[in-house]
């Protein structure tokens, strides 16, 4: 809803705007959808001038339809698939993280979401030599654990230190700070400042529900508005700059059925294109285990319900050695 302003296009002068406003035409939408003959009579403006202005406004503000074949070519050239170095997780995600999409990891506390995020950061930085941005909102980012993972994957200390330098960590504990951080990424990428970011391909956010959950609920729709703003920022970043965005989400208990469901509600469930649920095998703290099961809850490419096993063990996120990944539907 853009307001008509002088200088939006040649031929739109201040007096014209005042006269139009007096007759109830304030925004571009009002102008373009009104009957121009009517308007020219009421405002005593020249019909030809109005038609010319409308043509320019339409050219400026309307979206152009694109050819499906062109879209496909563009997708082929701009999308990349980032492997996560864990074969079972790659199998679940259809060979890796797709750029241009938002992927979500959800799970109960202690189910391994931060570990999987750290291992993705380590593999992208070390294996693909690309920059990673990690937005930490829970304080769970431990650099020593990341270093442990890098040490397991590469022998050379130089490589490990370089990989550490390619991972940028920003601690944002408030939703506005998170929005500023994302805005900053957008500014830097659009200016193509190569100095500190380098080829940024992955943005990891751990976790997005920690900053939004305090705002949701009650009778205020404020939280929902901010959540959708954040969703829009993430999707724009992913699509415009071909980034792979990974977010983590919490689970809450459904009051009526008693089952676990992802936090942030229905509106958020439309934002990520792929959703992976992490669960720990075995009862709470009676048996200690590092095995987790990851199941696909939503995916545009794979059948949902696929399940694999992960071991967030001492060195790496890897599939457990003797067992084969199980598929369940």
């Amino acid at each position: 809803m853009v307001v008509l302003r002088a200088g939006l296009c040649p031929g739109l002068t201040e007096e014209m705007i005042q006269v139009l406003r007096a007759n109830g035409v304030r925004t571009v939408v009002d102008f373009v959808s009104s009957d121009l003959e009517d308007v020219s009579q009421k405002c005593s403006l020249s019909y030809k001038a109005l038609v010319a202005v409308r043509r320019v406004l339409l050219a400026q503000f309307s979206a152009f339809p694109a050819n499906g074949a062109d879209l496909y070519e563009e997708l082929k050239s701009s999308t990349a698939i980032l492997p996560t170095r864990s074969p079972s997780l790659d199998q679940l995600l259809d060979s890796g993280l797709y750029t241009g999409e938002v992927t979500e990891l959800m799970g109960a506390p202690g189910s391994g979401k931060t570990q999987v995020c750290l291992s993705i950061a380590a593999s992208v930085s070390l294996g693909l030599k690309q920059h990673v941005l990690f937005l930490d909102s829970t304080g769970g980012f431990t650099a020593s654990r990341l270093y442990q993972m890098l040490q397991a994957q590469a022998e050379d200390e130089e490589e490990q230190l370089e990989a550490l330098q390619r991972i940028q960590v920003a601690r944002v504990f408030d939703v506005y700070e998170m929005l500023s951080a994302l805005q900053e990424v957008r500014d830097r990428l659009s200016q193509q400042a190569v100095s500190c970011t380098g080829p940024l391909k992955t943005v990891l956010i751990d976790s997005v529900s920690a900053v939004i959950h305090p705002l949701l609920g009650g009778r205020q729709s404020e939280g929902l508005a901010i959540m959708m703003q954040l969703a829009r920022e993430l999707k724009m970043l992913a699509k415009e700059f071909s980034l792979a965005v990974v977010v983590t989400n919490q689970v809450t208990r459904d009051s009526s059925t008693g089952l676990l469901k992802p936090a942030l509600g229905r509106s958020w469930s439309f934002v990520p294109s792929t959703r992976v649920l992490l669960e720990s095998k075995g009862a709470p703290w009676e048996e200690v285990t590092t095995r987790r099961s990851a199941s696909l809850a939503k995916s545009p490419r794979q059948p949902t319900g696929m399940q694999v096993e992960l071991d967030i063990g001492n060195s790496d996120v890897q599939e457990p050695s003797p067992a084969t990944p199980t598929e369940g539907l």
């Binding site: 506390p109 202690g110 909102s137 304080g139 270093y147 506005y176 959950h213 919490q250 709470p284």
Partner: protein, 366 residues
């Protein structure tokens, strides 16, 4: 600045009016100026001026960060964070098994939650940590002060005095076995009176007082910059009784958690919370789970669960970003929180985990 108006920290009514008037980016707002803004939306000039100041602050913050300036963001590379973490100390608990599974002790800049049934030793651990945070650096401590927020009224000063006296005695023994100057100097200031005077005690009776105290804490901490530990003993108690609206409780708890993590991060201190246990009734059996619901489980970075096994107290590390899950036994003695002693050994062999920064010292038995 192409920052969308919806993402600026303005009030909801103001935001709705801006959207209705057709403003989309922050730059448009700044271009219009306060008089034009107040005319277009229909708010007073003072309100327009305030709103523009907020917008300008946000945008200048963005610009500073884009240009590579420091700003107020906590942004750095993983390598710098690693160096920071390795230089950071831990708060030891005097129970070496527990320190081992925690990776050296209670970590600074993280929230640690201790859950357990009544009487298992949560408040004892809190009191032990309030004393241990003050151990001077030459003995392997972080030499800080402590803030103790009590909601249940279980803080017993004479017990803390006993724990402190045992800790001072322990350090004196170390100083006698390794004759070094800095030990003697540190011991002069490390006495029972100084320990007790550096524990700042707050008593909160209901959840409103607790929330207010936590929101006032940053100011307190900037005045007392040596504080390295904030203990909230009994975070479940004010939120469990007398609360009808459960969704409000979840929102308040999540907001509290974010506030605490900001405090932990900005002031480089450890935050320790204690939680109660509740019963979850399942189909065939019922289990004890930590109270305050599922979403509270995400608030703490490290979670310890204390439980009984017949007459032995056990501690399980349930959630940690860097350590494996494991269970160890511990015990509570008149001196405080300690390891379980193996039966055939002489007295006075508490082996504390020395700080890895210092060169390893072997404690000789007396």
């Amino acid at each position: 600045m192409q920052r969308a108006v919806g993402s600026l920290p303005l009030g909801p009514a103001l935001r709705a009016r801006l959207a209705a008037a057709g403003f989309q980016t922050a730059q448009e707002l700044l271009d219009t100026g306060p008089c034009g803004l107040s005319r277009e939306i229909g708010i007073s000039k003072e309100e327009a001026l305030e709103a523009l100041q907020v917008v300008r602050q946000e945008c200048s913050g963005d610009a500073a960060r884009t240009a590579g300036g420091a700003g107020t963001t906590r942004k750095c590379t993983a390598l710098e964070l690693l160096e920071e973490e390795q230089a950071q100390g831990f708060i030891i608990t005097f129970c070496s098994a527990l320190d081992n599974i925690l990776g050296g002790g209670v970590q600074l800049t993280k929230i640690t939650e201790v859950c357990g049934a009544p009487g298992v030793g949560k408040t004892q651990l809190c009191m032990q940590l309030a004393v241990d945070v003050q151990i001077p650096e030459c003995f392997g401590g972080v030499c800080g002060e402590a803030v103790f927020i009590d909601t249940e009224g279980s803080f017993m000063v004479d017990r803390v005095a006993d724990i402190a006296a045992a800790c001072v005695q322990h350090c004196q023994l170390i100083a006698e076995t390794h004759q070094e100057e800095d030990h003697q100097k540190a011991l002069e200031t490390f006495s029972l009176e100084s320990i007790l005077s550096h524990i700042y005690y707050f008593r909160c009776r209901d959840y409103i007082e607790l929330l207010a105290q936590v929101y006032l804490l940053p100011d307190f901490l900037s005045e007392h910059s040596k504080v390295r530990l904030v203990v909230i003993d009994g975070i479940a108690f004010p939120f469990r009784h007398d609360f009808e609206d459960l969704s409000l409780r979840t929102r308040l708890l999540n907001g509290l958690a974010q506030q605490l993590i900001i405090i932990a991060n900005d002031h480089k201190s450890a935050v320790v919370l204690t939680n109660q246990m509740t019963t979850r009734i399942g189909q065939s059996q019922s289990t004890l789970v930590p109270a305050l619901g599922e979403s509270w489980g995400h608030a703490a970075t490290v979670r310890l669960i204390f439980h009984w096994d017949k007459s032995q107290r056990l501690a399980t590390l349930y959630k940690s970003p860097s350590q494996k899950e494991s269970t160890i036994p511990y015990t509570i003695t008149p001196h405080g929180f300690r390891d379980v002693q193996p039966p055939a050994v002489t007295q006075n062999t508490e082996s504390t985990e020395m700080n890895p920064r210092k060169r390893p010292r072997r404690e000789e038995e007396k």
